[in-house]
């Protein structure tokens, strides 16, 4: 570094400090701002509407209890319209313009990877609350929803024990589907079972007849699926039409996240196994309180609160707990609390932040569709998130900034 650039650097740093100081003072007077980049129109609206509502309930609760650190909370939402381009724009506007204290949201992994660098650079904590393929490792990014291992690890052994050892995998032909297939194979192997077939479908594929025929001739004991989006909904109709419901048990990693069970006639969805962090049917006092509140505010035609929307609420609680613990809302304060051990009692059970990966250790529920409703069959406490090859360790290497993948 030459002298001039050193001087420039110091001046810039001083400027940033001055502005930062002024901003902190200005901020202390007003409300604490929560930025949300959530799709409430376009194809991903099916997740977004209730995700936003989950945050609104959380904010109401905090404000009624007198706010956070003596300040009121204000939710600043931007409708990203299922359009990736808007994520960068709103993330910049929220962090630099609105000067929010924290950012929540994004559904797809690509939109997260647009938001994340912007929010990270602005030194604002970021909470990503959608189930995804796992592996994000960065000190101020918190991924609070489930990763594939958390769904498959409790689910498959239970099914293998009950139905048999031959598994057929069907998945969306994209990152989440591929990595889920990998997790499925690994866990099957560990339990003496075998994946006898794996097929992947482009996101707009809607024709599953040939696959169903292949399954009929392969005669697996379990069909495990990771379907995404409206086109893939055709699978269930074709499966039912071919008379397969009840013939071979089917499990899914995605069924119910977008309220599929409400759309599907009960005869079609009968018997589908799902293992998620949260169902409306979970019976905890926290959940009852939450549902009462939710229905009082939003009525009863909201569809279904799935894990996708509950994760936003739980993340908000987690963040508020962190802010309380370290008496501050900046990225350092939240990180400090996270490293010291952070947990909240949420509607789904105990949510514990894993300081090593910034992912959550969650309680999982195994449910089976019956008569158009989820019936919870089994609960698993404290299921750990995926950490591929143990590569992510934010305690040892706090400056890691990447998304790890399993080594295939």
């Amino acid at each position: 570094m030459d002298r001039r650039s050193f001087v420039q650097g110091s001046l810039a740093a001083a400027g940033v400090l001055a502005i930062g100081g002024a901003a902190t003072k200005a901020r202390a007077a007003g409300p604490i701002k929560i930025g949300a980049v959530i799709d409430t129109s376009g194809p991903l609206e099916v997740f977004g509407q209730n995700k936003l509502r989950g945050l609104q309930i959380g904010v109401d609760e905090l404000n009624e209890a007198g706010g956070l650190l003596g300040r009121q909370i204000q939710l600043v939402h931007r409708d990203t319209q299922s359009n990736n381009q808007l994520f960068a724009q709103y993330a910049r506007e929220l962090t630099a313009g609105e000067r929010v204290d924290v950012v929540f949201g994004a559904t797809t992994s690509s939109s997260r990877e647009i938001v994340r660098p912007v929010v990270n650079r602005a030194k604002v904590p970021y909470f990503y609350n959608t189930n995804y393929e796992g592996g994000v490792c960065q000190r101020t990014t918190y991924c609070t929803s489930t990763t594939p291992a958390q769904m498959v690890e409790p689910l498959l052994p239970a099914l293998i024990e009950k139905h048999g050892k031959k598994i057929y995998f069907l998945g969306a032909d994209y990152n989440y589907g591929q990595i889920s297939a990998y997790a499925t194979k690994a866990i099957a192997k560990a339990h003496g079972a075998e994946v006898i077939g794996a097929e992947f479908f482009p996101l707009d594929a809607s024709s599953f007849g040939a696959t169903i025929n292949r399954i009929q001739s392969a005669k697996p004991d379990i069909v495990h699926t990771v379907f995404v989006g409206p086109a893939h909904g055709s699978f269930w109709g074709q499966w039912a039409s071919a008379g397969m419901v009840g013939k071979i048990p089917v499990s899914s990693q995605t069924f119910g996240l977008a309220g599929e069970q409400l759309r599907m006639p009960p005869e079609v969805s009968e018997g589908i196994y799902v293992c998620l962090n949260y169902f409306e049917e979970v019976s905890t006092p926290e959940n009852e309180r939450f549902l009462t509140r939710f229905k009082a505010k939003f009525g009863s035609s909201y569809g279904y609160i799935s894990e996708a929307s509950m994760a936003e609420y739980q993340a908000l609680k987690l963040w508020a707990e962190a802010a309380k613990k370290s008496n501050g809302t900046d990225a350092d304060a939240i990180e400090r609390a996270a490293k010291a051990g952070l947990s909240v009692l949420a509607p789904s059970g105990n949510v514990l932040l894993d300081a090593k990966t910034n992912h959550c250790i969650l309680d999982m529920s195994l449910a089976r569709m019956s008569g158009g409703k989820f019936i919870i069959e089994k609960k698993f406490a404290g299921v750990r998130p995926s950490n591929y090859g143990d590569q992510c360790d934010l305690i040892k290497n706090p400056n890691t900034n990447k998304q790890f993948e399993p080594k295939l």
């Binding site: 376009g42 990736n84 709103y90 630099a96 313009g97 992994s109 647009i114 660098p117």
Partner: protein, 334 residues
């Protein structure tokens, strides 16, 4: 008259340049500059389609292919070789190569009209599907995984050539806006050259132009390649802006969006498509902010109303109004 028009274009661009480059960066917040950078990149893309469609008669649903290929090439080269400047050149080169191949395929097959639109749309969808399906980490070019649906994240910003200092937000803005203005000037010039006039005559009546001895296919191919070069560059600048490129850029929604920009702004002009791109994006951002009505519904109604009320597009309509106003003014003078 033509000379006068060319002077008006040059002077207008110069004034716009002074305002956009000389004043705006000091007047607005950095995040607004970042937004403007995006709009400028998209305006470049819109002009590229405005050129080949409005002046070459090539209605391509595949302009997004060159945009996307440019973006992906930039990402892959910049991440592999750690050289953003090389990556920018590569993006343009790959887009042009693609356009020459595709253009040869299309124009030598005498495809036109709606059939050309569909074949380009289909090619765009093939890219969409293939890119989406390359999510396994075995699909990589050099050290960079294609990334499937999730795309390629962590795309590096541009640097000052010869150094490794990244451009700041304001510098990137100035660069992209300057490029947009240069593209505008360059295309305006190209349209006025002999090449441009022949291209227009082919658009008006291809048979007549061929009878006069011009090989329509060759001219269309050249125009297509120029459009692709510009679109590829826009794609690279977009990748710089958003830091991530994913197969969305090959989707039918994005393809249609570019066509909408051009039509609303005004087919047959260059400034129209650019303006259309900027205005619609600002509107979309605003809709997501105020949230009084479902953004899709609002945009849908706007498009329908615009087609019915301003069928020629915004800029030609304004030009018409101005011409009338100035005409009256000129007549009222003694």
């Amino acid at each position: 008259m033509r000379a006068l028009q060319s002077h008006v274009t040059t002077i207008g661009t110069l004034v716009a340049g002074i305002v956009l480059v000389g004043i705006v960066p000091f007047a607005v917040a950095p995040f607004t500059l970042a937004d403007l950078t995006l709009y400028a990149a998209m305006a470049i893309l819109a002009m590229s389609l405005g050129f080949i469609w409005g002046f070459g008669g090539i209605l391509s649903f595949g302009q997004s292919v060159f945009f996307g290929v440019g973006g992906y090439t930039y990402a892959i080269v910049a991440l592999n070789f750690d050289s953003p400047s090389l990556a920018l050149l590569a993006a343009i080169a790959v887009a042009v190569t693609g356009a020459l191949l595709l253009g040869y395929f299309i124009f030598w097959g005498r495809l036109s009209d709606v059939y050309l639109a569909v074949i380009t749309l289909t090619i765009s969808l093939i890219f969409f599907m293939l890119m989406n399906s390359m999510s396994s980490s075995i699909y990589r070019i050099g050290d960079v995984p294609i990334g499937g649906y999730n795309g390629i994240p962590g795309i590096p910003p541009l640097v000052v050539p010869g150094t490794d200092r990244s451009l700041s937000v304001a510098e990137t803005y100035v660069l992209v806006v300057t490029v947009a203005l240069l593209v505008y000037l360059g295309l305006s010039w190209l349209i006025r050259t002999k090449f441009g006039r022949i291209l227009c005559s082919i658009k008006e009546n291809e048979v007549r132009a061929e009878l006069l001895g011009y090989d329509a296919r060759l001219y269309k191919l050249a125009a297509f390649a120029v459009g692709a070069a510009i679109a590829g560059m826009a794609g690279a600048l977009f990748a710089v802006y958003s830091g991530l490129i994913n197969p969305d850029v090959f989707g039918i929604g994005f393809s249609a969006q570019i066509i909408v920009w051009v039509m609303l702004g005004g087919l047959g002009t260059l400034i129209g498509p650019a303006l259309g791109a900027v205005l619609i994006q600002m509107l979309v951002v605003w809709l997501g902010k105020v949230q009084v009505i479902d953004a899709n519904m609002a945009l849908g109604v706007l498009f329908i109303v615009a087609v019915l009320l301003v069928p020629a597009g915004l800029v030609p309509r304004l030009q018409g109004l101005l011409a009338v106003a100035f005409g009256n003014l000129a007549r009222s003078r003694p």
